[in-house]
Amino acid sequence: MKYADITKFWLPRHVLPFFIFIAGFLLLMPVEVLGDTESQESHSVSLADVRRGERFFKGLLPFNREHQACASCHNLSPTDTLNWNPSAYELAQKFLTRDINEFRNAVMQPSGAKMTASHQGFVLEDEDLGHIKAYLDDMAMKGPESTKPTFFNLLIFLGLGLILTWALVEMLFLRKIRYKFIPVLLFLGAFGAQAQMVITDAIRLGRQKAYAPDQPIKFSHAVHVGEQGIDCMYCHTTADHSKSAGLPATDLCMNCHVLIREGTNSGKFEIAKIIESHETGDPIEWTRIHNLPEHVFFSHAVHVGAAKLDCASCHGPVEEMHVMRQHSDLSMGWCVNCHRDTQVDFNDNGYYDTYIKLHEQMKAGEIDTIRAVDTGANDCMRCHY
């Protein structure tokens, strides 16, 4: 039997790539999507309770109420960047170790002003509260609802690859399509798109411009810097004399938050985390935003302490950011260009007295300004060693 016969018998010839595509898709799919995993029932709470609590939390149960569903404020997905309210998972974790009475008090008779306003007029039966608590406890133990992994780019890339391969095979061997330009166009298009994806990704490799991850505390630079006008160096104390700008230690936060226990936007929940950290002794694990590429040694001290650069020149309008994000791309080109443009404090900083020849040239009027690059700021071993 010839190859062509087998394919005729078993598969429509042009469907083969599609099958490979599907097979690949199924392989790459997270397992949870394929089968509904049964959660372990706890002793006192039935799975039905958890399910009911879930539907209640998501507002799927028709019940008599004036207010919105819980989920409309308390996000279910762990990423809730612009939401001031605590996410469902955070709530779940907080109340896992507390009993139903505490939970009821927190929901029905909140102490903070913001929460009092939003929970006003809540009419909830104890039974429903129990279901919600069961659902939250379940979530706390299982972890937050997983967001589906983004295979989108990869799938497009693979799909384009398949088109490309098919077009090539069609052009060279099959020759079924009458108009030659169709496979040629498809080939060029797919190849171009793939190349473009690779190049974009390659340039972006290791760069995280506009990276704004969720932080363990919804700390707002806009509130602290913009509204309250706190100086950067109040918290980032070592920026002018150490390599690292310094993250404020928890006790530094407590300088103010020993008194300020409730925020306008976030209520008590976020600030309580600082107090908790202070009391339990567990430091806060922030997510690092400004990750320099590997093999670079950067010093804040020389930029802030010696060059007197404004923080905003690299970190952007921090005073407007509720969620801190990376302003510059931190690429080498960005560094090097800045060094080319930035003038150094050549006449006033005593360190530069060593550069006798440049001083003479300046006096003679041969050059008017000294930029960082003229004093070797773009040497490899300024940053790579």
């Binding site: 780019n153 690292s244 310094g246 430091p283 990750n291 070797g376 040497d379 071993m381 790579h384």
Partner: protein
């Protein structure tokens, strides 16, 4: 006449064939790399490469890992993330003392530097001191107290030990506390407290390599067991009989500082003359102006001859010579001409020899001038008799128990196996070690101690010179420092820190007048690390007790083979055997790492067809051979400190242990043995020799002259430089640096080849350890190596040491050939190396005439094949966060410690002031015990480096007349200058 240098005997005898064999070996090696050892070829590689590229393209779309940033909860006031703190402390291990500064970065001690305030070690360190920081992060360390090798709580351990001690006390059975020489006054007080609590405890001091000969001789000559203060800087004539005072004898760091300052021709015009009479080529012998090979059995006769020669010169009648060493008459006349300005020392442990040494020094009037007694050295105080008595009691079963502190007699005492057998029978055996060793593993209890960087303590290395040890990190494990354990067992609940402070308040605070308040005094001493108390006052009177007996006991030198057992610079007595840095440090003379070996004389080797890596049988022990030029006839030498079995994964079973060969009697332990039998075999044993893998092809690399010639012509020996300068022309533009132009001056006259810089650099720059096999493959990674050249007769050659690191050429051959511009030149004259650009073509490596670039052939970090400190989380804590850890496939080399340059420049910029000369010190420069290296800015006309090597880009400013550059004729314009070595020979 130009001196003809040779690096190994093969090269000297037949340079052409040698080079051919070298090229052959190199070719075979490269072939194996290309072909692959298991037959895979370049084609297979390409196949694999194709697949990998595909995989990489897919992986590239992955996101970067999320990194966490965790701030302090409550920030300690003195800790600033990203900035290092320096704390003064004290190193005292294996009878070696050093006052140190510990660099602590983000809570981790990562580097040890010399403390310039110390009047003893004066900013110098040794290779072992440098490497000791890694011992802190040793995986082999015990994690907590142990009973019968099982973890136990401190409460149970303390209770049981105290119960046992009480019971033994009521039974009136003796317990021995065995320690090395304790130089800590407070610890001595703690021990006194223990002895008062338990009258049945006897304190026995045991040093693996004692100087009991000096102590007992001095107790007869001067009335007290005392090691005097030797002023090698003040001496005009230094005569040493087998004393390796620049390497391992007594206080080498201190002596090296003094010795080199007495021979410094960069500032002075005085130079001491150094005679060394020895059998085995030691570092000290290699630095001697006149070295006279001598069998150990000749020493008594040689000393007696010298004494008689001096008597004759003083006008008395004297006996004629017995030793057969003719040069002694010129030694005597030199000493006689410099009465009161000479030093005669002997490394012998024979009391009679030391008595004659004392008589000689007394006759010359050296006592009181170059040898003083106001600051006696206290680091080796043990005599042999108490230890022998202890072993007797231990083996005959009359001993009830033993408490061990920092001693390992099972390994390093010749009767170790007897001790091992008897230890098990004791009802109480407690060790206080922080890591396993041969003795501790046999003990019932281990009251796990701490590393000295985790401990409090004090030290008195020389009378009246005190220093403090302070912890720079919380104990990593559940250890407790032995001082504290002894306090607990003496039923004293005070913390040792408080005890120490109270001790200083009571004993040392009254010794000074500067501070009226104790805390101010304490803080000041702690900050400086040292405190100088008053010296001892009176010069003890000399008497010639037993001198005549000593002179009469001198016999004729014995015939037959003699075997010398010596400590090495790297491992010493073997305590640090589990330190991979020290294991990989090539021996300064043999340039062999990862093994001990037997050094044999050249003529014998030739006559018997023995060559390097042959195996011979000495007294029944098989030993690999190294043919050592300068080894005295009929002598062999082998290093102590190897052959550990319980040291840890790195140190176990490296080499073989020769401590059992030490000659022990009830009065002394001799570290040589006569009447040795030698047999040759046909076997071979591979040694990791690095001596021939940096060929310089016979060009005038190491230059030298004599003191007499130098006085007439300061550029003596360096005449060829004039020629080089004359021909220094170029088509290229002259390099010009607007700001700094870094330069390094190396005084070959000061360098003793001790290897401190190599380890210091290795610690600072995260240089990997690659193991014996890779060293044999000529891949050793050290950024600074010390080349050792021989000249003259192989029976007794002259030796030159030359540290070679990247020469930072301003016209660098490596820079031009890099296809990816990974190694360009900086605006400050540095030859830069950007690891993340390097693709590993190794063109630079091949185009460098100095062979100073290193290639990461394999992944040496986090690799099970290189299971050293970088393969464990604990070991990696020693890495310097300011220097990239290189991966496979990149070239690396000396950077002049650019991270330190950047750091100091930054400080100066922030403070708005120019950099000071001497402010920046690369790791090699900082702690050099002989101050042989000077670093600075050649654009600064007032700098020391400018005075020494001028401006390397400008032939008009050549610097010191002794200055020259390596391969200057190639016009590479190196930024490293060498100053000619000067020998003070009498010809």
């Amino acid at each position: 006449m130009e001196t003809k240098y040779w690096r190994s005997l093969e090269e000297r005898n037949d340079p052409a064939t040698f080079r051919k064999s070298e090229i052959r070996a190199e070719y075979e090696h490269k072939k194996s790399v290309i072909k692959g050892e298991n037959g895979s070829s370049r084609r297979d590689f390409l196949k694999a490469f194709g697949f990998t590229i595909g995989g990489t393209a897919l992986l590239a779309s992955c996101n970067r890992p999320v990194e966490k940033a965790i701030p302090y909860l409550i920030k300690p006031e003195e800790v600033t993330p990203g900035m290092a703190n320096y704390y003064a402390s004290t190193f005292y291990e294996g009878n070696e003392y050093c006052s140190i500064l510990v660099k602590v970065r983000d809570g981790r001690p990562i580097k040890i530097e010399g403390n310039d305030l110390s009047p003893v070690s004066r900013k110098g360190t040794s290779a072992r001191v440098q490497a000791s920081v890694l011992n802190l992060y040793d995986d082999a360390r015990y994690k907590g107290p142990l009973k019968d090798k099982e973890p136990v709580t401190w409460e149970i351990l303390d209770k049981e030990v105290i119960e046992s001690l009480d019971q033994l006390n009521t039974e009136n059975r003796k317990v021995v506390l065995l320690t090395p020489t304790v130089i800590s006054p407070a610890f001595r007080e703690v021990i006194a407290g223990l002895l008062a609590t338990y009258p049945n405890i006897e304190w026995v001091k045991y040093d693996p390599v004692p100087v009991s000969g000096i102590l007992t001789a001095n107790s007869e000559s001067f009335g007290s067991e005392i090691i005097p203060d030797y002023h090698f800087d003040k001496a005009n004539i230094i005569v040493s009989f087998n004393a390796d005072f620049l390497g391992t004898w007594l206080s080498p760091v201190e002596y090296t500082k003094k010795y080199s300052s007495g021979r410094d021709l960069t500032t002075g015009r005085r130079m001491s003359r150094h005679y060394q009479l020895e059998a085995h080529m030691s570092v000290t012998g290699a630095n001697a102006d006149i070295r006279i090979p001598m069998k150990p059995s000749q020493e008594s006769a040689a000393l007696a001859d010298l004494y008689h020669e001096l008597l004759r010169l003083s006008g008395s009648t004297a006996e004629s010579g017995k030793s057969g060493i003719d040069e002694l008459s010129s030694v005597a006349s030199d000493l006689w001409a410099n009465k009161g300005l000479g030093i005669v020392v002997s490394g012998s442990n024979r009391k009679e020899n030391q008595l004659i040494v004392n008589a000689i020094n007394e006759m010359l009037g050296n006592h009181g001038s170059t040898i003083t007694f106001d600051r006696p050295l206290l680091t080796r105080q043990s005599t042999v008799a108490p230890m022998e008595r202890f072993i007797g009691e231990l083996t005959n079963g009359s001993l009830g128990g033993v408490i061990l502190y920092d001693v390992n007699p099972v390994y390093d005492h010749p009767k170790g196996s007897q001790i091992a057998g008897a230890l098990k029978n004791l009802s109480l055996s407690v060790s206080m070690s922080d890591r396993p060793d041969e003795t501790t593993t046999l003990c019932r209890y281990n009251a796990t101690g701490t590393h000295f960087l985790e401990s409090w303590g004090d030290a008195e290395p020389k009378a009246g010179f005190y220093s403090l040890t302070q912890p720079v990190i919380q104990p990593l494990f559940d250890g407790r420092q032995p001082e504290e354990s002894l306090l607990r067992w003496s039923r004293n609940s005070i913390a040792y820190y408080d005890y120490l402070k109270e001790f200083w308040r009571a004993e040392l605070f009254p010794q000074q007048t500067q501070f009226s308040e104790f805390n101010a005094f304490w803080n000041d001493s702690l900050q400086k690390g040292v405190f100088e108390g008053p010296a001892l006052s009176s010069l003890p009177a000399y008497n010639d007790l037993n001198l005549n007996e000593a002179l009469q006991s001198v016999g004729k030198p014995s015939d037959g083979w003699e075997l010398i057992l010596y400590e090495t610079i790297a491992l010493g007595n073997g305590k640090f055997a589990n330190n991979p840095w020290l294991q990989e440090l090539p021996d300064p003379m043999a340039k062999i790492s990862w093994d001990n070996f037997v050094s044999v004389p050249v003529e014998w080797a030739d006559a018997n067809g023995v060559e390097n890596e042959s195996v011979i049988v000495v007294n029944g022990i098989e030993m690999p051979v190294f043919v050592q030029p300068g080894q005295a006839d009929q002598t062999m030498a082998v290093a102590l400190g190897y052959g550990r079995t319980e040291a840890g994964k790195t140190g176990n079973n490296i080499g073989f242990n020769v401590f059992p060969l030490v000659q022990a009697s009830s009065e002394d332990r001799q570290f040589w043995l006569p009447g040795v039998t030698v047999e040759t075999t046909t076997k071979t044993y591979p040694l990791a020799l690095s001596q021939t893998h940096h060929s310089m092809e016979g060009r005038p690399i190491a230059r030298e002259s004599t003191f007499a010639e130098w006085q007439l012509n300061p550029s003596a020996g360096n005449e060829i430089r004039e020629d080089h300068i004359k021909h220094s022309t170029t088509l290229y533009e002259k390099p010009d640096y607007p700001g700094h132009h870094w330069g390094l001056a190396i005084d070959l006259n000061a360098c003793t080849g001790c290897g401190n810089c190599t380890i210091s650099c290795q610690v600072e720059n995260n240089i990997p350890v690659i193991g014996k096999e890779q060293v044999r493959n000529r891949r050793i990674m050290h950024w600074i190596r010390i080349d050792r050249y021989y000249s003259g007769k192989p029976q007794n050659p002259y030796v030159s040491f030359q540290p070679v690191m990247c020469q930072q050429c301003d016209n660098a051959p490596c820079e031009n050939v890099c296809p990816v511009a990974a190694t360009p030149h900086s605006d400050e004259g540095l030859n830069q190396m950007a690891y993340n650009r390097c693709v590993g073509t190794r063109y630079c490596l091949n185009n460098c005439p100095y062979r100073v670039r290193r290639f990461n052939w394999l992944k040496f970090v986090k690799s099970d094949k290189f299971d050293y400190h970088t393969n464990s989380d604990l070991g990696r804590m020693v890495l310097n966060p300011d220097v990239t850890v290189r991966s496979r496939g990149v070239v690396e080399k000396c950077t002049f410690c650019v991270q330190r340059i950047q750091d100091k420049k930054q400080t100066a910029k922030i403070e708005g002031r120019p950099l000071q000369d001497g402010e920046i010190e690369p790791a090699c420069v900082q702690s050099c015990p002989s101050s042989a290296l000077v670093f600075g800015d050649m654009n600064d006309k007032t700098s020391q480096v400018f005075r020494l090597i001028g401006k390397t880009t400008d032939p008009e400013i050549p610097g010191d007349p002794r200055n020259y550059h390596l391969l200057e004729e190639l016009h590479t314009l190196p930024s490293v200058g060498y100053l000619t070595k000067i020998r003070n020979t009498n010809t």
